[in-house]
Amino acid sequence: MKSLKQTLNKQRKGGEEHILPLINVVFLLLIFFMVAGKLTTSDPFKLDPAKSISETSVENETAIIHMGNSNKLAFQNEEMDKATLLSRLSTYMQDNPDSKIRLKVDGVHSAGDVLQFLTSLRDSGVEKVALLTQLQHRGEQ
């Protein structure tokens, strides 16, 4: 009859073979996250964009403005006040004329405030704005 010590020794020898299925699964998960996920910089503050049926995707190269609650503003992921933002934006628009600016606004944000902000963007030379939205599936309210 085998002693407990012998059995344990045997198990220890074959130990690495037992974790092979685990490694396979971990590798698969790693590949899934590498391929399916998209590495993005996180927003400077929490935002939940409005829902829309629009399926136009976004080009990530253009400048981005975040507009949060209590009129918190950020340009290129850097939080700043409105005057600084508009002057930075004017410089950006001089270097990249005709570029489309991405605007990420919380869905519950007052439309009046956003419209006022859009008007001041127009004064800084912005002609086209892409408002970021979340895809709303049909039938979903």
Binding site: E16, L22, V105, T119, T133
Partner: protein, 137 residues
């Protein structure tokens, strides 16, 4: 005399490459990708920022409809209130007209986006945002 091949084989059998460091690295990579990657798909709605003042020529009342976004699911056309479904029915017969979007004090940007969705569904091409005019638009 031993050949190099057999010597190598013996060494390999005696000391197989340990998998533990590999698993450590793979786990760290997995955790990194799980935390750093995002699955939220962002889409866009294109807007043309409104021009302040009355420098642009406003279309006449026969060729345009002014929609006031009054609040959540409340849209007003000529002082008559519609919800989104009724507004869609109303706009269905007016696809050749320009839609001017005016926002009220209580409206959220989601309501404006919903209106833009309706106009996209109805293939309304002429839409423009009017500048916000304060408390009493």
């Amino acid at each position: 005399m031993q050949t190099l091949g057999s010597a190598l084989k013996r060494t390999r059998r005696k000391n197989p490459i340990s998998l533990t460091p590999l698993i450590d690295v793979v786990f760290i990579l997995l955790v990194f990708f799980m935390l750093a990657s995002s699955f939220q798909k962002t889409r866009t709605v294109e807007l043309q920022p409104p021009v302040k003042g009355k420098s642009i020529a406003q279309p006449s009342e026969q060729t345009s409809i002014k929609v006031l976004v009054a609040g959540t699911d409340r849209y007003e056309i000529a002082n008559k209130t519609y919800d989104l479904a009724h507004l869609e029915t109303f706009l269905k017969s007016k696809t050749d007209q320009t839609v001017l979007i005016q926002t009220g004090q209580d409206a959220a940007i989601q309501d404006v986006v919903s209106l833009l969705d309706v106009s996209a569904r109805l293939n309304l091409e002429k839409i423009s945002l009017l500048p916000f005019e304060g408390e009493n638009p």
